[in-house]
């Protein structure tokens, strides 16, 4: 069973546009929600993360919006650039154990010039 559901599977955005990727979860024990960015042929790298006690976190052009009551969170990429083209994974961390980070299925973002 997929602990974190991510959509869309792929996304094409014009340069300068806003990219939005959505994730949803069910387990209310999740306490940390990171996003990872993966370029082709490379390993994912942590991009930005949020804890459930805040509704928004912004780092440069990247913003996480978090809705605790709806159990949803999303990544917004403002002024999307071709260099943002990558696969993005949302994730959620459970409270205990080494195997406590659950990934979404990924979104392949393509930003066209």
């Amino acid at each position: 069973q997929q602990q974190v559901k991510q959509s869309p599977q792929s996304l094409i955005v014009q340069k300068g546009g806003i990219s939005i990727i959505n994730c949803a979860y069910e387990n209310t024990a999740f306490d940390y929600f990171p996003w990872y960015q993966q370029f082709p042929g490379k390993g994912p790298a942590l991009l930005i993360a949020i804890r459930p006690d805040v509704s928004e976190k912004k780092e440069g052009r990247f913003t996480i919006s978090f809705n605790k009551s709806a159990k949803q969170f999303s990544l917004h990429i403002m002024d999307s650039q071709p260099g943002d083209s990558a696969t993005y994974f949302c994730a959620a961390r459970g409270p205990t154990g080494a195997n406590n980070l659950f990934f979404g299925t990924g979104t392949r973002l393509t930003v066209i010039p």
Binding site: K42, P44, A98
Partner: protein, 113 residues
């Protein structure tokens, strides 16, 4: 600073041949270690994780195995590769206390022919 080394970067193996992928971490002690597999255009599938030397947990039954002979060394093996073992293999580590941030290696692209 911490670094993770994973090799080889690319590997082409015939069906039925053995496999050994190695991952080492520098600059930290007692990390949690992980092997993930990523099929083409797909998400991250956790294969194995380890919280200490000799301690291996398997997430998916298959013909792969993992070993952790040293604190910062994690090895993925197979006695006989199958076509379905093809994929992008990623090693990752996290600091055990919080397990908050996963650091991924650069991956091994395995093609079984």
């Amino acid at each position: 600073s911490q670094t993770i080394h994973q090799w080889p970067a690319t590997l082409v193996q015939p069906v039925g041949s053995p496999l050994s992928l190695e991952c080492t971490v520098e600059g930290t002690s007692n990390p949690n270690l992980y092997w993930y597999r990523q099929a083409a255009g797909r998400g991250l599938q956790l294969l194995f994780y380890s919280v200490g030397i000799g301690q291996i947990s398997s997430e998916v039954p298959q013909n792969l195995s993992a070993s952790r002979p040293q604190d910062r060394q994690f090895i993925l093996s197979s006695k006989k590769l199958l076509l379905s073992d093809s994929g992008f293999y990623l090693c990752a580590w996290a600091q055990g206390a919080t397990n908050e941030k996963l650091f991924f290696g650069s991956g091994t692209q395995l093609s079984v022919l």
